[in-house]
Subunit: 472 residues, 2 copies
């Protein structure tokens, strides 16, 4: 636990104003989903990589656990200080400089505490595009997005967060700094170390800065809401659209009818722009660096073909920025409905794209059989095989009574995903929420490799203990 002189020694390293205790910790010591307690000894807000390194060195010597934290928007408890562990939260928010932006090189080098939306804006100001976009982009920070290998709505075209990274600066668990901040597109001069830290949830080191790929800024974007009879038709449309738009499809989100009925009944919002109800919908978006009418014509041709072949029954384009916003608002109403329902089981699974129809049908049947009246509303980034298969309580059922079934319902959904060659965590990560389950289902060889890497890099076990891997 905390030695008596630790606060003073930390204050000497980073200044007393940046060692928060008591009520001052409140903005940092909570779980985004409010499901867990977060009880740090103190919250540290260092101002530089050197300060992060100094803190880490001290904590390694004293065996004080460190919980790295960015915008604290994670959904699996990755940035909470587990009660009783005597951890320090290491908030990176003051490391918020853009160190370099080179438009000709299409690269951006920024510190871990930069807010994602600010980096998107910095790229746009240089006529470039940072294609990482998630619901929390106004709050989440670069370091957290990379440590959790964030996904989001653009991965179909641009990949996950790790795919945008050219180089990293990392403070290792012993306080040494690895300066791997390269901006090279090709570099085969050694093992690729950056992928060890990307997606490791701060359990192997602390990402303090990163060099990212930028892209040409899309000058033409087409957004359409499309009614489809079933997920199989959505997949057929996906194939047509990838080919027919020259692979310029950037988002492809599947939504059930519940999106509209739930909006009406639960949020009091009528937002269906189509004449007839459909069991399923796709919100698709394509972008091009070329302004002009061509992309629209391509998407229209795709939809016409799909209509003829019966994969699509109706569609509407956004013809203004306002309409684009409204179409996206439909998609965004789904998490909102979940919050309003109160009792809802959230999952974040992925399966191979081609297995989505079977996965959705099988899993819908399994949860309906488990509890009559249950309200499943699977939706998500179907172009990546990533479905948030969420399930609301039956109307009128007591929330607490329903949530007592949450582990069993999530278990059904996870088992179905695994049976379809899938994953129990597509984009949200493991944190402490799924660490126990991950260990139970993981291939033993893979788990052994993970544990070996953890022991190699963090022999004192101070880096975000209890996250990703439960204590063995």
């Amino acid at each position: 636990m905390m030695r008596d002189d630790l606060p003073g020694r930390l204050a000497a390293l980073i200044g007393p104003d940046h060692v928060l205790t008591g009520d001052a910790m409140a903005p940092y010591a909570f779980d985004w989903r409010r499901r867990q307690e977060s009880r740090p000894l103190a919250v540290l807000r260092p101002g530089s990589t050197a300060e992060v390194a100094a803190i880490t060195r001290l904590c390694a010597q004293d065996r004080v656990p460190l919980v790295p934290q960015g915008g604290n928007t994670g959904l699996v408890g990755g940035t909470v200080a587990i009660p009783g562990m005597g951890s320090l939260i290491l908030n990176l928010g003051r490391l918020n400089r853009v160190r370099a932006l080179d438009p000709a090189d299409h690269t951006l080098t920024a510190e871990a505490g930069c807010v994602l939306a600010d980096l998107q804006a910095a790229a746009a100001a240089a006529d470039r595009y940072l294609p990482l976009s998630l619901g929390s982009e106004g709050t989440c920070m670069l370091g957290g997005a990379l440590s959790s290998n964030a996904g989001g709505i653009l991965t179909l075209r641009y990949g996950n967060a790790r795919d945008l990274v050219l180089g990293l600066e990392v403070v290792l668990p012993d306080g040494r700094v690895w300066n791997g901040l390269r901006t090279l597109r090709k570099d085969n001069s050694g093992y690729d170390l950056k992928h060890l830290f990307l997606g490791a949830e701060g359990t192997l080191g602390i990402i303090t800065a990163a060099s990212l790929k930028l892209y040409p800024r899309p000058r033409q974007v087409e957004t359409a809401l499309v009614a489809v009879p079933d997920p199989a038709a959505a997949l057929a449309l996906l194939g047509l659209a990838r080919t027919g738009t020259g692979d310029s499809l950037s988002a492809f989100e599947l939504m059930p009818r519940f999106t509209f009925d739930g909006s009406r009944d639960i949020l009091g919002r009528e937002q269906d722009p189509l004449a007839e109800p459909s069991p399923w919908y796709v919100l698709m978006e394509a972008g091009s660096g070329m302004a002009g009418p061509l992309l629209r014509r391509q998407v229209e041709a795709v939809l016409e073909t799909a209509l003829e072949q019966g994969f699509v029954t109706d569609a509407i384009f956004a013809d203004s920025l306002e309409q684009t916003r409204k179409l996206w608002l439909i998609r965004e109403s789904l998490p909102e409905i979940g919050r309003k329902i109160g009792g809802a089981v959230h999952t974040d699974i992925s399966v191979p794209v081609s297995r989505i129809p079977d996965f959705v049908a099988t899993t819908l049947a399994a949860v309906a059989a488990y509890m009559p009246g249950i309200r499943p509303y699977p939706f998500g980034h179907v172009g990546d095989g990533n479905i948030h298969f969420n399930v609301g309580r039956p109307a009128g059922m007591d929330t607490a009574a329903y949530l007592a079934h949450a582990p069993a319902i999530a278990g059904l959904i996870h088992a179905s995903a695994l049976a379809h060659g899938g994953s129990i965590s597509a984009e949200h990560g493991i944190g402490n929420l799924k660490a126990g389950e991950m260990v139970r289902i993981k291939d033993p060889v893979e788990l052994d490799l993970m544990r070996s890497l953890k022991e190699l890099l963090d022999p004192t076990g101070i880096m975000n203990p209890g996250k990703m891997l439960p204590p063995s």
Copy 2:
């Protein structure tokens, strides 16, 4: 060294026909560039992952070094059996099955010994595209391409080999099999282990199979040879072309005038299709999943803008497959010229894309100052910052006398690349050719991490010793 009963025990594992000794080893026991000797104790040709695992287990017990080998087309000695080490070459050529190809999922799962061109053909037969293309694609195998993180001509758009990998099957240095053959686009359920083995040149384990991303097949391809005044103009054209074609640019190769003069003087081949000589050229290619005249119009518009702005002085399109072949033959004449010159220093550097003009100018001056009459011909994948800065001997100079200067000349070029934030190995890897130099220039923290990983995964040191990391 080899225990007396080892050949018999190996034969018992994989069959006596697949344990080659003596002259039968000749097709496998050589260095592609014929610069090194390769002296294995035997060449093993297992037929399955289980057989690879059994061999590896035996070799770990007996401490017999293993050199994994695919098509043996590497350029840095990664697949030679270093004389005196008593190694076995483990050739993966018999693991050559396509295990799965799912067009709807856009994935392909294949074994390490599949020839790259065969996999390209298998994808094309399913109306899909495997966007990994290199000079050696008719001979090189998947396992080698992944173990060396191959680059090639399509990385500008599709990334390096590692970027195409969704999952791996790996035999670990103790003979255990890690089955990480997933086909998920998003999976955050643990550390990302595959990147440890990708690009590790067989020093951390043996890749036996991989799941790869496929893409929509391009239906329209436009290829153009463009005359540019200098590398800075080439970069300006690159920016225009990425934006103006909706980022559908797949190749962007810089070539010096020497390409044509050298072809004429050294290969006896007149192949300049343009009216006036230019100091520099770009061979560019854009592809689209949409057939039709649009892509051509986009590229034409880009070139017209570039002409007006002075970045381009002339250009010619390929109007037939035959003309496309001829334009690419110009690019391919450069390695051919190098072989004919006899004395030529080959390098494989990368720098940030925006630093190419300064790097090229500085390095041309440095090598010219080193030796009058020297014939540098930097060329390559300039869209990725990857330049093969090759340097031929002065006309008339004795080849052996020139090659005595090769280390010094390569040293000048590497020093310049490093001074420009670059790498001494962009796409060819380290092998044993660059292992010593890599260790000298590597950041000590990074080198220490590399050595730690090697010791963790391969504690007996049997995996391709002397490659990537020299014995410490």
